[in-house]
Each structure stands twice: as structure tokens, then as C-alpha cells.
């Protein structure tokens, strides 16, 4: 039975610098990278290549000793020019100098109807060695799924409500066939259903609504309506001992292409967005692209921050840094490293706030108003003060304040009882944004998940 979910809680952060739906003409970046740090679960990465080796797109570069069968593969063909390590020889990046013409590892091709008839093991083996498997994330913990387990259901969200998010109906346009093939593959992996969440906000007709072999659930509301964690919570929640897998819409297409075209296709359309980008638009490139080509002469003069991903859950990178494995957008916003005279009390309508405390008048603006927000913390760290706001931006039957307190107290029973298995960082990102006390809630949540996982 498909679900229709109308969410009342949440908050849309409307930033200026939305990407125009247009593919930019731009040379491909010279280098690409695979960053083991993008994969939360990787504990003991083992590199399979060395500097100077040449690889094809889809050649395995590393695996994790905890899940040896899952191979992490090169997005492009070329030469390994650097294996970057940090403190204690922690593996940071494997950098590939890309060929002019990308050559891929070749695998057997399937037709859409073939997939249904193929044995599960054959499907899993192909996914593991080709490099598409890391698209599959498991809940709880938000780590790469273990291929030996079977989830009770699989969830795919086909829309992203994060600030300045890439429009999936644009980035995956024309990939409907691959998406369907990907869904068919996923149905072989679960004992339950594949759930596809589509957006039913006003005026939206999803290109995915005609997908077969899956439950189509329509979800409407403010951010985080697009977060797959919210869909899971309302449709098939994760209790202790449960296992649910999630795949991004891009991941489903990539899996589909592997079967239809017989190759690991890491081409990706990404959005370059943010108030400091001169012409925000879309770029066609590959996973792990170096961002320098896109931002050259395209960013304002002031000090800015480059973010791989969106402003709520992304990661700060350098101007010659690399796009994260799961990211399909680069956001550029002003760095807020300057103090502001009486900024804590002067009335303003230009600073976005979920709150309406004295002088915070942004709620008077029209919903269409776009804001420029810098990276300033806008206050100092303080003790937890309960304002009831976390609950107002979390459209789940979860008490974030109590969960965070349980994590800080390292109380395992409380963490479990209060639903830590249902949450990963992105589900608490809005709480972090609205927090009066400026705590780093995503980090606290991850610490809690690590505690539980290792217990």
C-alpha cells in the first residue's frame, strides 16, 4: 500500500544563488579523487593500487577489511598520481589524473527483463566488484551496507529539499530507464518492498511516478521532507535489530546503468550554487571531481567557503578540493570570520531565523525571499537550553533534545529507547541550524551512533 504523507513540521532555508537549470560548457577537471573519509563505515581501508598505476573507470582502488567484498572503484580512467595520507598515515585521498577519453571496465549486459530472472548472488557479486555497492547505505548507523545481510525494505528518495539542492528531475533527466533497471535490481536484494518517495509539493509532477515494481509514496512538506530518514520513520520505521537500506536516486540510476550498459558509469551532473557563485548552474562531470575548473573566475572576490554538498550536512573543502562520493552539489557561501557590532540585539529582517525572538524579523518576509548566509556561528557555545524548537523542525515522533542528552550521558538504553537507530546526521541537521546554544549536534549524534555500533 503506498502512502501519502503530509508533513507539517520543518523549515525551508531559502538561500540565494540557485543553480540555473542549464548545463555549463566547461572543460573536465584534470584530476579526480576517491576519498575513503566519505564512507562513514570504513575503518581499515586497504589500498589496491600504487602511485603510477594506470586504471580504468571501475577498477577497484581500495576496500575495507571489515567488508572485504565491497570494492571502491575509480570514477575515471587514468593514472594514480598521488595517494594522500594524513596524521598517523590515515588514508585521505587517492588522486587520479584522468585520461582524455574515459575507458571503462566491461561487464555482462542485461536487459530490464533479464534482471528479474537472474540469481540474487550473481547480481550482488557484480555490484560488489564493479563499484556501485557503496551507493547502498544501511540504517541504522548510515554506513555502507553489508552484502551478506537482507534488509526488511529499501528506500529511495527522489527529491532533495536541502538548501540549494540539485534538482534531481534535471540531473537525472533521461535516465528513467536506468532508474527502472536499478529498482528491479534492488527488489532482488530485500525481503520486503522497495519504497520510492516522490515529492507532491504544489506544482510538482515527478518523473518517477510511473516507476514499476516499487511502492510509490508521496510526501509533501517543508525540508526535511526529502530526507529518506523521514520517509522510513513514517512508512517502515527502524526498531532495534531492524535493517533498512537506502539508496540515492543517483545511486539507483548508476546501478541500473551497470546492468544495462555493463559498466561502472560515474558520470554525474552536479549543481554549482550559492550566493558567491557568479553564474550558478549545472555541470556534467564524474564522481570525485576536482572543483577548481568550475569555480575559476566564477566566484566573488571576498573570502568564501567551498562546500562539497549542501550547507546543512556538507563538508568544507579547499578551492582545489574534491567532490564527495555522495555529493551532487558544490555550494559557495561567504566565510563569516568577522565580528559584528551589536549583532546579537539589533533588529534585522535580512538574517534568516526560525525563531522570532526580539528583533529577528525574517518571518515577516515573503517565502520567496532569498537569503545570503555566511558561516559565522552567530553566537557562542552555551549550555543546553530547552527551547522546544528542535521538536518543531523534526517531522518525526522523536524527541531530539532527550536523544542528544542521552548520547552526552552515554546512556545506551535511553539512546535506543529514544530512537537513535532511526537517525543519522542529516536528520538532525536542521536542529543544529536552529540551536540557540550552537552545539554541534551532528557530531554528537555520530559519536552516539559509534558508541552503540561498537558496543
Amino acid at each position: 500500500m503506498s502512502h501519502t504523507i503530509k508533513l507539517k513540521k520543518g523549515f525551508d532555508i531559502n538561500l540565494s544563488g540557485k543553480a540555473e537549470k542549464k548545463l555549463a560548457e566547461c572543460d573536465q577537471p584534470k584530476t579526480f579523487a576517491l576519498k575513503p573519509t566519505d564512507f562513514v563505515g570504513i575503518q581499515r581501508p586497504k589500498v589496491l593500487v600504487s602511485e603510477g598505476d594506470t586504471v580504468k573507470a571501475g577498477t577497484p582502488l581500495l576496500f575495507c577489511k571489515m567488508l572485504e567484498d565491497v570494492k571502491y572503484c575509480s570514477p575515471v580512467s587514468g593514472e594514480i598520481i598521488e595517494i594522500k595520507r594524513g596524521e598517523k598515515r590515515k588514508l585521505l585521498e587517492i588522486i587520479i589524473l584522468a585520461d582524455e577519453k574515459i575507458v571503462s571496465e566491461e561487464y555482462k549486459k542485461f536487459s530490464i527483463s533479464d534482471i528479474q530472472k537472474t540469481e540474487k548472488q550473481e547480481i550482488v557479486d557484480l555490484m560488489l566488484k564493479s563499484g556501485v555497492w557503496p551507493n547502498i547505505i544501511q540504517r541504522p548507523y548510515g554506513v555502507v551496507a553489508n552484502p551478506e545481510e537482507t534488509p526488511k525494505s529499501i528506500f529511495v528518495s527522489t527529491f532533495d529539499t536541502n538548501p540549494l539542492a540539485a534538482d534531481i528531475s534535471f540531473t537525472l533527466k533521461g535516465d528513467e530507464n536506468s532508474f527502472q533497471a536499478g529498482i528491479n535490481v534492488l527488489t532482488k536484494l530485500t525481503s520486503g518492498k522497495v519504497n520510492v518517495g516522490i515529492n507532491s509539493n504544489a506544482g510538482q509532477v515527478s518523473m518517477f511516478s510511473a516507476i514499476k515494481n516499487a511502492e510509490i509514496n508521496t510526501i509533501s512538506g517543508k525540508h526535511p521532507a526529502g530526507n529518506v530518514g523521514v520517509h522510513i520513520h513514517h512508512i517502515d520505521p527502524v526498531a532495534k535489530g531492524d535493517l533498512v537500506w537506502t539508496v540515492s536516486a543517483y545511486g539507483v540510476v548508476q546501478i541500473g546503468k551497470l546492468f544495462l550498459e555493463g559498466k561502472y558509469d560515474a558520470t554525474k551532473i552536479i549543481a554549482l550554487a550559492g550566493s558567491e557563485v557568479k553564474t550558478p548552474q549545472y555541470y556534467k562531470t564524474f564522481t570525485g571531481a576536482c572543483i577548481n575548473k568550475f569555480i575559476d573566475n566564477n566566484v566573488s572576490e571576498q573570502e568564501v567557503r567551498f562546500i562539497s554538498g549542501n550547507v546543512l550536512t556538507g563538508e568544507k573543502i579547499k578551492s582545489d578540493g574534491y567532490l564527495g562520493f555522495y555529493h551532487d552539489q558544490v555550494t559557495v557561501i561567504p566565510e563569516g570570520n568577522q565580528s559584528e557590532f551589536l549583532g546579537w540585539i539589533l533588529p534585522t529582517i535580512n538574517k534568516l531565523s526560525f525563531h522570532k525572538a526580539f528583533g529577528l524579523l525574517s518571518f515577516l518576509n515573503s517565502k520567496e525571499k532569498e537569503y545570503v548566509i555566511d558561516t559565522n556561528l552567530k553566537g557562542e557555545h552555551r549550555a543546553f537550553v530547552q527551547t522546544g524548537m528542535f521538536e518543531k523542525v523534526t517531522p518525526m515522533d522523536i524527541l531530539p533534545t532527550y536523544l542528544i542528552k542521552a548520547i552526552l550521558a552515554e546512556d545506551y538504553d535511553e539512546m535506543e529507547g529514544l530512537g537513535i537507530y532511526e537517525m543519522i546526521e542529516e536528520d538532525i541537521a536542521l536542529c543544529e541550524f536552529v540551536d540557540v546554544s550552537k552545539n554541534n549536534l551532528q557530531k554528537i549524534l555520530r559519536d552516539g551512533l559509534t558508541l552503540i555500533k561498537n558496543s
Binding site: T313, H355, A357, L377, I398, S437
Partner: protein, 400 residues
């Protein structure tokens, strides 16, 4: 702005590690951040942007909400003084007297409290928490204008030290800080906070037939002495000033003796409107305290075992400190219930208890203070069961 920034930047090395005044860094930061929101940026991972709100602004909102009560209170001190002494005074003269009486109390409260906060801040190495800015203003508003300043100081130090810091500072306290101060005075120095202390007379003597009792005390007395209806007792009191000194409208507008800031229900309601519109105070708590009190009073009207029980229910909402407590004390986010369902129960019980104490306990004419302090203790218990309900739903969902 530049020159203020320069002053801070120039003196900063003194307070930094290795500087002469290294230990006073928290003090320095407190003042610097009063002028400037610091240049701190978000960490490289996680939310890269943050909401414009911070604790300073939240607390300032509460202080702004209290200003109508403070300003009215200052005038009313002068006005009551003029009434009691029979002098004719202009509005400005009344305000002048009010300022002379009230400002020192406010200053002493802030000075005493902030000193304790700073000592703990320096000891623990953190900047001042903004919470006391609110408590420091609440304390004077719940005290009589005649309170000796040294008692204000002692009570504030006690409240901050025993009521808050020993529990771990802002956010950790169990009892509302301002009410702790008032309760301390109530039990340590009862003669200065009960009886006829509510009108500032200075060195003047009151006119003949004047009584400085509060409406609550008169109602209580009438009930204990079985001297007829409470409303009649109120009507026949202070007739030397006006025919119906304790009329409902006077009680509502607050032209009566009482604690500095809590006599005017109207001003409290203006504050409530500010708190509710800004979302800083919980409307659920405010509404449920009033609701709980009114319904209990109605029930007592029906039972009617003593005269106080027979007092019209709406009188309860305007006499004493019920309105002030409901709006400014019960809503303290740290000591109140923190779950949304819990807030209804918490507020309702405060309302019920207040009326119970007023009507049945002749020793404590004001019920709201003890009701809130008692419910402060029960708030975590209420939350415990609400949170347990959440956990239970999760378990049931899994077994279906």
C-alpha cells in the same frame, strides 16, 4: 564601532594565555561579546550555516517583556506612596520616588548576582551565561519596595550560589533562581516580606485609617475571621483612599500595594503577549496556569466551605502574583517541563496548587511561589513519563 573594536583588540593580549590578567579572560570575553558577535565560524563538517538567534537575544527578549512591569512598578511605588501619605504629587514626582526606591534594588540584585556568576565563570573558565540577566531583573520585581538592600544582596547570592551554581550553573538548576531568592527571604526574614511592607512610606507616616495590606492578605484575613464575604472585605478596606480601592478594575490595572512588578495584571499580560509572539515563552504553560487556577477557583465556588472559596473565580487571576508567576516564572525553560505534553500538566498543576495554598493555608497568603517551586521539583518526573510514552510507542510500533 572601529574604535571600540580597537580598544578590545589592543587590550586582548593582557588577557590571553601568558598575559598579566589571563585569569580574567572570561570577564573580558563577556564584555567583548556584549559589543561584538565574535568571529567564530562553523566547523568544517556539519551545518555550515546557523540561525541568527543566540542565547543573548533570547534572554534580552524576556527582559524586554518585563519592562512594562518594571516601568509600571516604578510609577506605582511613587503613586502608592502619595496615596498613603496623603501628599499631592505630580506624575513626575511619583516616578521620581519610584526610581529612588526601585533602582537601588535592581542595581544591588544585578551586582550581587553577577559577582557570583563572574567568580564561577573565572573559576570554570567560561564566559558569563546570559541566564542571570533575566533572574537579576526578576528578583527586584517580586520583592516589596521596602526591602532592605542588604537582604536583596544576601538573597541574590544565596539564589545564584545554592539555587544554581552548585547544580552546575545555567541550564542545570532545578529551582527557578528568582523564586529561590524570594523563598529565601520569605523564610529567613519573614517580617520584611509580609504584613504592611508593600507601600514605601519613607520617613512619612500614613494617613489615618490607611492599611498597607495586600488584597491577598485582606481576603485571607476575612476568610479566617469569618468576617463575611471576601469581596465585601476588599470593598471596605482602605475606604479612606477611595470608595472601592480594591475594585476588580484597580486590581487588574494594578493601582494597589504589592511587590514592585507584580501588581498590574495588564502589564503582565503585555509581557505575556511579547513572550508568546516571539515564541520565547511557552503559551501552553501560561494558558494552563491561568486555566488551572480559574477552574479550581470555580470548583471551590461550588463547594464554598469558607469565605475565600466563595470569592469569585476571576478575582484569583488578578490578585497577588499569580499572573506574574504564570508568565515570567513558570515559563523558565530550564526549570519547567520540557516536553510539550508535560507543559500542559506542569502549568495546570501550578494553577491548581496556587489556589489550594491560597484558600486553605492561612500561613502563606501567596500560593504561586510555593506552587511553582514545588512543580519545579516535579517537572522532571512529568517529563519522565511523557518521554516514557514516546519510548513505549516505539516499542509497540516494532511489535505490531
Amino acid at each position: 564601532m572601529k574604535f571600540i573594536k580597537d580598544i578590545f583588540d589592543k587590550n586582548k593580549p593582557l588577557f590571553e594565555k601568558g598575559g598579566k590578567l589571563e585569569k580574567l579572560m572570561p570577564l573580558f570575553i563577556t564584555f567583548e561579546t556584549l559589543f561584538f558577535v565574535p568571529d567564530h565560524v562553523t566547523p568544517g563538517k556539519g551545518a555550515q550555516i546557523r540561525d541568527a538567534v543566540d542565547l543573548k537575544r533570547m534572554m534580552m527578549t524576556v527582559i524586554i517583556a518585563m519592562l512594562p512591569c518594571l516601568i509600571f512598578g516604578i510609577w506605582n511605588v511613587g503613586y502608592q506612596h502619595a496615596l498613603a501619605t496623603g501628599e499631592t504629587m505630580s506624575l513626575m514626582q511619583q516616578i521620581g520616588i519610584g526610581l529612588v526606591v526601585v533602582l537601588p534594588i535592581v542595581i544591588v540584585s544585578y551586582a550581587a548576582g553577577l559577582t557570583v556568576e563572574f567568580i564561577f565563570g573565572i573559576k570554570k573558565g567560561h564566559a558569563l551565561n546570559e541566564g542571570f540577566l533575566v533572574s537579576g531583573m526578576l528578583i527586584p520585581l517580586v520583592l516589596p519596595p521596602t526591602i532592605p538592600l542588604w537582604q536583596v544582596a544576601i538573597a541574590t547570592v544565596f539564589a545564584v550560589l545554592i539555587g544554581k551554581e552548585v547544580f552546575g550553573g545555567t541550564g542545570m538548576n532545578i529551582f527557578n533562581v528568582a523564586l529561590t531568592a524570594r523563598a529565601f527571604l520569605y523564610f529567613a526574614y519573614p517580617s520584611q516580606i509580609s504584613g504592611t511592607v508593600w507601600t514605601y512610606l519613607g520617613d512619612k507616616t500614613p494617613i489615618d485609617g490607611y492599611t498597607g495590606s495586600t488584597s491577598l492578605a485582606i481576603a485571607n484575613e476575612a476568610s479566617v475571621n469569618k468576617a463575611g464575604a471576601v469581596v465585601d472585605a476588599l470593598a471596605h478596606s482602605n475606604t479612606v483612599l477611595s470608595a472601592d480601592f480594591f475594585s476588580f478594575s484597580n486590581l487588574f490595572f494594578g493601582f494597589i500595594p504589592g511587590s514592585i512588578g507584580e501588581t498590574s495584571t495588564l502589564m503582565v499580560l503585555i509581557g505575556a503577549a511579547i513572550l508568546i509572539l516571539t515564541g520565547v515563552g511557552s503559551w501552553k504553560i501560561i494558558v494552563s496556569v491561568f486555566g488551572g487556577a480559574y477552574l479550581t477557583a470555580l470548583l471551590f465556588n461550588i463547594i464554598g466551605a469558607n469565605e475565600f472559596m466563595l470569592m469569585p473565580a476571576h478575582y484569583h487571576l488578578v490578585i497577588g502574583g499569580l499572573a506574574f508567576g504564570a508568565v515570567f516564572m513558570a515559563t523558565d525553560p530550564v526549570t519547567a517541563s520540557q516536553t510539550e505534553k508535560g507543559k500542559w500538566i506542569y502549568g495546570l498543576l501550578i494553577g491548581v496548587l496556587t489556589i489550594l495554598i491560597r484558600v486553605f493555608n492561612p500561613a502563606y497568603p501567596e500560593g504561586i511561589m510555593l506552587a511553582i517551586l514545588l512543580m519545579n521539583v516535579f517537572a522532571p518526573l512529568i517529563d519522565f513519563y511523557v518521554v516514557k510514552g514516546n519510548k513505549q510507542r516505539r516499542i509497540q510500533r516494532a511489535t505490531v
